[in-house]
């Protein structure tokens, strides 16, 4: 078990390092001079000013030195420029926005909670609805409930979020006024307002994903119910509740845990469309804007963060799998 864990962690760290190199390379692949971008769209900088900026940013150094500086910034912090113009960037330093000089860490600190709120709330919705509908559907296969559930989830699973999201906005906000136009409020400021604003994205992303999860749960449960060990459990004289709850569910849930973990990791990196539809500035929207504006420090930070989420989710899922399935521990 320990060796298994260490192996997984080493692999995760190596992957992250590789991704940091690739992300850093993005910086150089972009066909524009960062110093020019920093000058902004309207004002024009003379060559002197550009050189000044380049030096301050360390852009005049060779690439590997710059990468070293970048990594050092993340782990111990760094200082841009020298003397009176020096600007301190404490760890985890991700640089400053080219556009408005705001520290990238501050931007992440502001937008990440938005994405976290959307994703965890929606995940609770889709796991709760998806799993229970899928399980009941499998246990009542062929009944009216099952048929309705299968039909609905087929529609849901094939509906794009921008369509469903706008539909929700039109029906619940613009036409009936049942809900106010969502406006993000940090949970620390006003939990009720926070939840009120989150209702729409939770329903939007949560419902659509519960369709996928209901289909997954139903298929997993049906497959498990036909397993020999379920027949054995019944042959022992166990009650239906024990057979389904203790024997079938435990086996059926394992692959779902895996997929849910990976989904969560992916969504935490940003839910661009959901954020855009409901007008939130989360990590996804921020990343998209930064990419459009060639604001490279933000692009690099968001890409790196998404990678961290996905890889962490991978490690957690592997560990969880090993805890659930004793067969994994040996191999």
């Amino acid at each position: 078990m320990h060796r298994f864990l260490i192996k997984k962690l080493l692999l995760a760290v190596t992957t992250l390092l590789a991704i940091s190199v690739i992300t850093f390379a993005l910086f150089f692949l972009v066909p524009s001079n960062p110093a020019e971008v920093m000058c902004g769209n309207r004002q024009r900088c003379g060559p002197e000013r550009l050189a000044q900026i380049e030096q301050r940013m360390g852009l005049d150094q060779p690439a590997y030195v710059q990468y070293g500086q970048f990594m050092k910034g993340i782990f111990v912090g760094r200082t841009f420029g020298e003397g009176a113009a020096a600007r301190d960037c404490p760890a985890p330093c991700l640089g400053f926005s080219f556009r408005n000089d705001e520290p990238v860490t501050a931007i992440v600190a502001r937008t990440l909670p938005v994405t976290l709120s959307i994703v965890f709330g929606a995940a609770a919705v889709w796991l709760l609805i998806g799993l229970s509908v899928g399980m009941v559907s499998a246990l009542r296969r062929g009944t009216f409930f099952d048929k309705v559930a299968v039909g609905t989830s087929l529609v849901g699973a094939s509906m794009p979020i921008f369509f469903f999201g706008y539909l929700l906005l039109i029906v619940l906000v613009y036409e009936t006024g049942l809900l106010p136009n969502p406006k993000y409020t940090p949970i620390t400021e006003n939990p009720a307002a926070w939840a009120g604003a989150m209702v729409l994205p939770w329903i939007g992303l949560g419902f659509l994903n519960s369709a996928t999860y209901a289909r997954l749960a139903r298929a997993q449960m049906l497959e498990t119910l036909s397993e020999d060990f379920v027949r054995t459990a019944r042959a022992k004289g166990l009650s239906k509740a024990t057979v389904y709850g203790r024997h079938a569910l435990r086996a059926a849930i394992t692959p779902i845990v895996t997929i849910a973990g990976l989904d969560l990791g992916t969504y935490l990196g940003g839910t661009v469309i959901t954020e855009t539809v409901f007008g939130f500035t989360g990590l996804g929207k921020t990343a998209l804007n930064a990419a459009l504006n060639l604001d490279m420090p933000i692009v690099m930070a968001t890409v790196l963060l998404a990678a961290v989420f996905i890889i962490t989710a991978n490690v957690l899922v592997d560990v969880l799998y090993a805890v659930i399935d004793p067969r994994v521990r040996l191999s």
């Binding site: 397993e227 020999d228 060990f229 027949r231 054995t232 459990a233 019944r234 042959a235 022992k236 004289g237 166990l238 009650s239 239906k240 024990t242 024997h247 435990r250 086996a251 659930i324 399935d325 004793p326 067969r327 040996l330």
Partner: protein, 367 residues
């Protein structure tokens, strides 16, 4: 057509009614393609302390019969007719809760592939303990666990206390089947059904498991149904033998009668295709030609007639039997001269005995 003869238990047994009596059992499944008549009018009986071997090719209805006895078919898609008397009480159509109480306590089952039949995520000891606890609700998990270790020891698993805390994948195939047996016998059931318990095991382990079953039977005095398509296994352990073809019983008698003086052409075919029963190990195995029939649209008359080398077809005439009978009439199980031996075949008995002596026994196929 006369009604099916309901045979008594073959051979001489002592005591009152046999523990398990199956009478005219039919099991049908409604499927999208039509009604599957998986078991059709099968009757047999098993006394405590005796072993009935049920043989037949794949798809002949052996497993469906045993699952019907345990009441494990989905009532929504299965129609079961006939009687299954367990200790004199008919359990066909019994409500789920009543039959659940019987499962694992009065009757237990072990399956072909012990790896897939055991839950991969729970320890072996816990699974055995669970089987004990469900019928001893007052027992604590500790007591149940102690009992499980005892059973694992009894079925010959070395270091049972340590092994009880391991998972099924850490066991070898033979050890897993021993664990299954421990689980099935933990409540000392009166009836044990073993559905091809040794098919997934290699030959030496096979013999050990069969020995173990025979041993445990002497100790627990249970009635055993052993399902297999290996006549070698049957000859080793069975007291009585039921031969099934396409969901029907075609020959039934003591092991001695069915294996030494078989009268049904299908039984002859099975015997000819078993290496372990050959007098001469070099003799050619003769597999039965053709394939098992569809269970939705079985052939009319004797379901075996398209594959039978002795079928009475339209043109042929055999003294004492109607021409074409095999294609038209379903043969019923009938008592032959020897008591307790029944055969479902249109050929007259004298003819069957003659053919067996001339074509089958003489050819050195069967010892």
């Amino acid at each position: 057509m006369t009604a099916a003869v309901i045979p008594e238990t073959p051979g001489a047994y002592t005591g009152a009614a046999p523990y398990l009596q199956v009478r005219d059992l039919s099991v049908r499944f409604a499927t999208e393609d039509g009604v599957v008549r998986a078991v059709d009018g099968v009757s047999f009986a098993v006394e405590r302390g005796r072993t009935l071997g049920i043989v037949g090719e794949s798809g002949s209805g052996k497993s469906v019969t045993s699952l019907a006895i345990l009441g494990l078919h989905d009532p929504k898609r299965t129609t079961i007719a006939g009687q299954i008397l367990l200790g004199g009480r008919d359990i066909v159509g019994l409500d789920e809760e009543s039959i659940r109480r019987l499962r694992g306590r009065d009757m237990a089952m072990i399956f072909q592939d012990p790896l897939s039949a055991l839950h991969p995520y729970y320890t072996v000891g816990r699974q055995v303990a669970e089987a004990y606890r469900v019928h001893h609700p007052d027992a604590s998990w500790r007591e149940a666990h102690r009992r499980a270790v005892e059973m694992l020891d009894r079925v010959g698993i070395p270091q049972p206390a340590r092994r009880a805390n391991q998972h099924p994948h850490e066991f070898s195939g033979g050890m897993r089947q021993r664990a299954m047996i421990a689980m099935a016998l933990v409540n000392n059931p009166e009836l044990l059904i073993a559905d091809e318990p040794t098919t997934a095991l290699d030959v030496t382990v096979q013999a050990q498991i069969l020995d173990l079953l025979a041993d445990l039977q002497r100790e627990f005095h249970s009635a055993i149904i052993l399902i297999t398509h290996d006549l070698g296994v049957v000859s080793q352990v069975a007291d009585d033998v039921l031969v099934m073809y396409a969901g029907r019983a075609v020959e039934y008698g003591t092991a001695e009668q069915v294996l030494r003086r078989p009268q049904h052409p299908y039984t002859w075919g099975l015997l000819s295709s078993v290496p372990s029963l050959h007098g001469d190990p070099d003799a050619d195995l003769i597999p039965i030609r053709g394939n098992p029939p569809s269970m939705i649209h079985p052939p009319p008359g004797c379901a075996f007639h398209p594959r039978c080398g002795y079928a009475l077809l339209g043109s042929a005439s055999t003294p004492g039997a109607a021409a074409g009978a095999c294609e038209v009439d379903v043969p019923q199980l009938r008592q032959v001269q020897e008591r307790g031996h029944t055969v479902a075949c249109h050929l007259p008995e004298g003819k069957r005995v003659e053919i067996y002596r001339r074509d089958i026994a003489q050819a050195g196929v069967v010892r």
